[in-house]
């Protein structure tokens, strides 16, 4: 089954919720083939998860006790017919649009950034030129240094991406989802036993305050062992290495987490991401 066919199969099942719910146990050849494809395709796994999440939300919506004390709906029909029509007031439009028009835009400006590159805004390059003309050579040198660092960050992320591609080429690769303590999905840990590579990726972290790092930990024999610190390229935080450095060259297991803590080794920090390997 190819990717396009798998997506069509998933959508067909979504149109009939009972079939979607029964996918894991279904024994018909199409379902068996679809499950085989899902086992190796992260994109289709995500698509299935999105549909299941949608129907889980419907289950919540018709089963939840409303906090406003109204009668719980027991079906979509009852929920749709609950009668509370809500219309935006006249005047909100004018107020909102006026507020936008009078807003002073952010000084950084709107730059189209491709997903895995960092580019300096055009105004920064122009400012650098102007400063040279005005004798601001030292400032231009600093700007150049910043540009070199940005290029190095982008190159490092490109290397991590290549490692991740290698992991995903392994049909037996594994992926564990990372979540915030509140349970929000926020990244992933991917590894390949045959390749012995592991990559941690997230866009849910902001750059750490000065003097602090996001340290990666794995659980080994019931204790946490630090395995490195997250690096940043733009809004993407990552760690890449080998399974051997995790002390388990066969396959990871147990918990993985990321904590924000002081740069000095051995300090107890605040857990910001966690996942079960």
């Amino acid at each position: 089954m190819d990717h396009t066919e798998a997506r069509e199969q998933l959508l067909d099942r979504a149109l009939e919720p009972a079939r979607l719910r029964g996918l894991d146990a279904a024994t018909d050849p199409a379902s068996v083939e679809l499950r085989a494809h899902l086992a190796t395709c992260l994109a289709c796994q995500a698509e299935l998860a999105a549909w299941r999440g949608t129907f889980a939300a419907l289950d919540v919506a018709v089963g939840a006790d409303p906090a406003d004390g109204g009668i719980p709906a027991t079906s979509l029909g009852a929920l749709a017919g609950s009668g509370d029509e809500v219309t935006p007031p006249i005047g909100l439009r004018a107020r909102t649009l006026t507020a936008a028009i009078t807003h002073t835009p952010s000084p950084v400006g709107k730059v189209d950034l491709p997903r895995r590159q960092v580019r300096w805004p055009a105004w920064l390059a122009m400012a650098a030129v102007l400063l040279v003309l005005l004798g601001g050579g030292a400032v231009v040198v600093d700007r150049t240094g910043q540009l070199d660092r940005a290029k190095a960050d982008a190159a490092a992320l490109a290397g991590v991406t290549a490692t991740l591609d290698g992991i995903l080429q392994d049909p037996a690769h594994q992926v564990a989802l990372l979540k915030t303590p509140a349970g929000t999905p926020a990244g992933s840990v991917s590894w390949s036993v045959s390749d012995q590579s592991v990559v941690v990726l997230t866009t849910a972290l902001q750059s750490p305050p000065a003097g602090q790092v996001y340290r990666c930990w794995v659980e080994r024999n019931g204790a946490g062992v630090a395995v490195g610190a997250m690096q940043f390229s733009g809004s993407t935080a990552y760690w890449a290495g080998s399974l051997g450095s995790w002390g388990n060259a066969v396959a990871p297991s147990g918990r993985f987490w990321v904590s924000l803590e002081p740069s000095g080794a051995g300090s107890k920090g605040t857990m910001v991401l966690t996942g079960n390997l």
Binding site: L15, E16, A64, L79, V86, T96, P181, P185, L260
Partner: protein
């Protein structure tokens, strides 16, 4: 998503124009999605004044940070609702931290802070109470419910009909076509549109969609009230 109900080319193009500072595009974006945004927030907050503020803040956030939206990540309506949801939750938390004025004599006050000075000037005894935060799981279920309700509100009658028959009654697409006397293709099209609309709006729910985790949050508080994250 590839369905044209979710991230339509029109939505992506609209955001590109907003990014370029196009006020007319921003007005079109407002008109296209405000009913869904306002509906969800009003059903969640049950406070028209606060709802207006949240809706305005949501659209201003879009105007100020259009670069935070990535069409390949999810739908525009899901992104808008995730912003609105965060703003609404901030409102609820702020309200729960304000003291609630309680007049100790019957009928002495309606709980407004302005009552405090009046009651004290009259020499009436008052008490202060802090309303409890809604448990996160309850708040989350309530948000899911209002989003589903609002999504149903935005569907056509035919789309609601096929969705109810599929979900509530568990009918297959063929059975729905027979029940309603519609061509099977028509049933599939209407069911698909209803589901993709629903799914797009549910992207604002953390465990379902990508947006709630992606829009920058400076810090977060865990269930025990401890503050975490960058300061």
């Amino acid at each position: 998503m590839t369905d044209d109900v979710a991230t339509t080319p029109a939505d992506a193009e609209l955001m590109a124009r907003v990014s370029a500072g196009d006020h007319q595009a921003f007005a079109t974006l407002y008109d296209r999605h405000v009913r869904a945004v306002y509906g969800a927030v009003q059903r969640y907050l049950r406070d028209p004044a606060a709802t207006e503020d949240v809706v305005q803040e949501t659209y201003l956030a879009v105007w100020q940070r259009p670069d935070a939206y990535a069409a390949e990540k999810g739908s525009l309506i899901g992104w808008l609702l995730s912003i609105a949801r965060n703003r609404a939750i901030d409102r609820l938390r702020a309200a729960s931290r304000r003291p609630l004025v309680v007049g100790l004599a019957p009928g002495a006050s309606d709980g407004a802070e302005s009552d405090l000075e009046r009651l004290m000037a009259l020499g009436r005894p008052v008490g202060l109470a802090v309303t409890a935060d809604e448990p996160p799981d309850v708040a989350e279920r309530r948000w899911v419910r209002v989003v589903v309700r609002t999504a149903l509100d935005g569907m056509s009658e035919q789309e609601r009909q096929v969705l109810e028959l599929a979900y509530d009654d568990g009918l297959s697409q063929t059975e729905i076509a027979e029940r309603l006397g519609w061509p099977l293709g028509t049933v599939k099209t209407r069911t698909r549109r209803a589901l993709f609309r629903l799914r797009a709006m549910l992207e604002s729910v953390p465990d379902i969609g990508p947006w709630a985790a992606s829009f920058p949050v400076a810090a977060w508080v865990d269930a025990d009230g401890a503050r975490h994250g960058p300061h």
